[in-house]
Symmetry: D2
Subunit: 102 residues, 4 copies
């Protein structure tokens, strides 16, 4: 299983791109793949084809009305681990023995 | 004000790097700069010198016992906006008229 | 056509990971997809499935002997443009009326 | 010494942002810090304050006429190594016993 964080924005659609970002989140939220939204991107958990498939659907939707698109992606694969959307942060809090802002 | 997300990991310290990541989170949490932790990084909000200063302190601490370090950073600056650690996600949920996972 | 830059490294294989990076470059170089190597990653040019296919092959090869893998990816899609592996830099040099280091 | 790759673009200035990117490259090229331009960003080599200082000057210049700016940064620090703008690629070519496209 892997964690994949991505953010995807159109260039040339003005300074406010919330309309396009919301459409991606709609696709992600309906995909069945587990995720967490944060202020700078969305983190998905699944195998390579699952998470890449969701990202591609977001890209295909954005391409329909956006001629230039930037995507930023970060992947953390770890063999034999799952449920890391929650456990990675819990592990840091356990080490520090206090709650962090999330 | 800008949002800066970063993640910082040592190479050559084995597969589990939670010990080093926790030390960074301790620095961030005590810095006074507002932040949100997510499974793939930490998002800080502040001006350039504030957020870069926190990141540099994390780097200086990690350098003490790590000889190779990777850092990944993403910045979203928007003039005249603040409080976006919460408002960016709220704005997407408002458009979609439902709660998302965060 | 899109440009995709990526870098992929194992965690837990020590500080020197050139052996694994070289194997990826071998895959990329034999893929038939056009690319340029730089000190921090490799930039591919092609359509979504082509460039993602190459990246997946690199990932599958690395997974064979690496249990934790980090990948960093950046995509720049621009409708109707191709040959940007060379033209993006040429355009900057033309504006500045001098050669840059590349 | 560290390698830092970054790309910086305004949002809300249309699809073509070469004018702003060229201004950054002018700052980088005159900075005295060694660098290599590639189709997706610029890689600088120096210590933390040097490379961050150049990136900040680019940001300050872009802020003057851009109200929303995205920056993507990747850092590879390795204690005791320098000259890696050239040597990282040479090392891959040596392992593969052939020239790669760069």
């Amino acid at each position: 299983m892997l964690l994949l964080e991505f953010s995807m924005s159109p260039l040339g659609k003005g300074e406010s791109v919330g309309r396009y970002v919301s459409r991606s989140l709609d696709i992600i939220d309906r995909s069945g793949v587990d995720y967490r939204l944060n202020p700078m991107g969305t983190v998905l958990e699944g195998n390579w084809d699952e998470v890449m498939g969701v990202m591609k659907r977001c890209f295909e939707a954005m391409k329909k009305d956006c001629d230039r698109i930037s995507v930023s992606v970060k992947i953390d694969y770890r063999k034999g681990y799952r449920g890391r959307l929650g456990s990675k942060m819990a592990s840091v809090e356990k080490r520090l023995k206090r709650k962090l802002k999330s």
